[in-house]
């Protein structure tokens, strides 16, 4: 493990990044990119939502 001493801060940063990777995997958290296009809040009201132009956006998605 002498290489850990030689690499110092770099090794610490990579170990922290790996810990973050494991945490993200267990949480189902995607580190890069997001397919979600919604900007709705918890109340279900839309913010400035992206969407294809000709549909004009779904002003009220169907909720059961």
């Amino acid at each position: 493990m002498t290489f850990l001493r030689k690499l110092g801060l770099y090794a610490v940063l990579m170990l922290l990044a790996t810990a973050g990777f494991v945490w993200a995997g267990l949480q189902g958290h995607r580190l890069l990119g997001d397919d979600n296009e919604s900007t709705e809040n918890l109340n279900g009201s839309a913010g400035a939502r992206r969407g294809s132009g000709y549909r004009g956006g779904h002003s009220s998605f169907y909720h059961k």
Binding site: T2, F3, L4, K6, L7, Y10, A11, M14, L15, A17, T18, F21, V22, A24, G25, L26, Q27, G28, H29, R30, L31, L32, G33, D34, D35, N36, E37, S38, E40, N41, L42, N43, G44, R49, G51, S52, Y54, R55, H58, F61, Y62, H63, K64
Partner: protein, 437 residues
């Protein structure tokens, strides 16, 4: 002030009078120095005990290579010995005066000799070395093996002396008779000097200019600027290169195993598998091609987790735009993505062609636990019914995380590799030997 033993040993043995300018200068190696170059007028003479001085030459090129370390200066060298600078020579290769360098003769009592050479700002500490065997001598591929290290032929030349000051135990003017071969394994070099039938070996190691300046108590700004890459200048990150490779490979293995562990600990499974047929939207306000909203049955999600949506559509030479809306039935929070799926095919010019796909997928992450359903809002060119299969997988492995982590792990090693490779190319660009492009 009392002198240490080392300082006492290094003190001047006496003073000499120059036979030409008659100015006095100190000398240090009383037992072995025979040749002297006056630091005042550069008269080169031989002086043996009990004999009169014999003038051999008058050097006339004091500025051929600037002398930055003064005669008499002392410094601690990497071999742990305190050396005094007793001589300086300015040389060039016989084939060109553009290849010029300086050599400092170092002396450590009672009889330890070494040299410091400087070429285009690159310093080497050189000591006598035991004899070695040259493999494939007199070829471009000549090399010397020492243990596991391979020293490759880097340069072959005959030196010419332009200027000298100080004292020498050998005739400095004999340099022109030497045939020198340099074999490199950075940061070290083996030097083979052939004088008639006599071969001598030397071992050189790279020194940073700052090391030399510090050893002789000079400011770093006094050192000549470096140009290009030195013959044995180590590549960037040399001290940490092997540990970095070992660490990176171990971490990459650990990351892959961690991904396997995560996939095992959170087993993936389908929470929804439904097939629908799109129908035209009966609402009078519906635009052409707009399909009726499809609402799936409710399903439980055990989060936080990532959900993968797989869509398969019965398309034939048309497109379908499918906004998909995941709704948490307890909180009303929703996630949305849109997939445009299109598939066209035909036969043209004697060949079949197709483009697009009948499938699409998307991943939503950070989905908390709860009861959910999915709304689909199909929109097609004609609005005619088509089959839509939707599958939702829980705990889907996030391979993009693995890819990102591996990219992060290998980024610095790759950058270092490219820097080291460029450095090595630059080194060999200054040589007539070595790898051929």
């Amino acid at each position: 002030m009392s002198l240490t033993d080392a300082q006492r040993d290094l003190a001047a043995a006496g003073q000499l009078d120059c036979p030409t300018c008659h100015k006095a200068f100190p000398y240090y190696d009383e037992a072995n120095s025979v040749f002297f170059a006056c630091p005042h007028c550069a008269t080169y003479f031989k002086l043996e005990t009990g004999k009169r001085p014999e003038v051999l030459d008058h050097f006339k090129a004091p500025h051929f290579v600037p002398q930055v370390l003064p005669l008499g200066a002392t410094g601690l060298m990497p071999d742990g010995r305190e050396y005094r600078i007793v001589g300086f020579m300015a040389k060039h290769e016989a084939k060109s005066m553009n290849y010029r360098w300086g050599e400092y003769a170092l002396f450590s009592p009672p009889a330890h000799y070494a040299q410091l050479s400087v070429f285009e700002g690159h310093w080497q500490f050189i000591r006598p070395e035991a004899e070695h065997r040259i493999i494939r001598p007199n070829t471009r591929e000549a090399e010397v093996r020492v243990g596991d290290d391979v020293y490759e032929l880097y340069n072959k030349y005959s030196p010419r002396l332009q200027h000298a000051v100080g004292e020498f135990s050998w005739n400095a003017r004999d340099s022109h008779r030497l045939i020198v071969q340099e074999f490199v394994a950075p940061p070290y070099m083996l030097v083979h000097e052939q004088l008639h039938d006599t071969a001598s070996w030397f071992w050189a190691e790279h020194l940073e200019p700052g090391q030399v300046a510090e050893a002789f108590g000079l400011p770093a700004t006094a050192m000549p600027d470096r140009h290009g890459v030195g013959a044995i200048q180590p590549p960037p990150g040399d001290a940490t290169w092997k540990p970095l490779l070992t660490f990176t490979l171990l971490m990459a293995l650990a990351v892959v195993l961690a991904q396997v562990f995560i996939s095992t600990a959170k087993s993936r499974h389908w929470v929804l598998q439904e097939t629908y047929s799109t129908q035209p939207d009966p609402a009078p306000t519906a635009v052409a091609g707009q399909g009726a909203v499809i609402v799936t049955p409710s399903f439980e999600v055990h989060g936080p987790t990532a959900l993968n949506f797989e869509l398969k559509v019965g398309l034939d030479n048309q497109w379908l735009e499918l906004p998909v809306n995941l709704v948490n039935e307890q909180t009303g929070q929703s996630w949305e993505f849109t997939k445009t799926i299109e598939y066209y095919h035909g036969y043209e010019g004697g060949e079949s062609w197709s483009e697009g796909s009948t499938e699409g997928d998307a991943t939503l992450h950070d989905i908390p636990s709860g009861r959910y359903h999915v709304n689909l809002y199909p929109q097609s060119e004609t609005g005619q019914p088509m089959m839509v299969q939707l599958r939702v997988e829980e705990n889907t492995p996030l391979q993009s995380n693995l890819l990102l982590m591996l990219l992060l792990l290998f980024a610095w090693p790759v950058i270092q590799y490219l820097r080291r490779r460029y450095h090595t190319q630059q080194r060999w660009a200054s040589s007539d030997y070595g790898p051929q492009e």
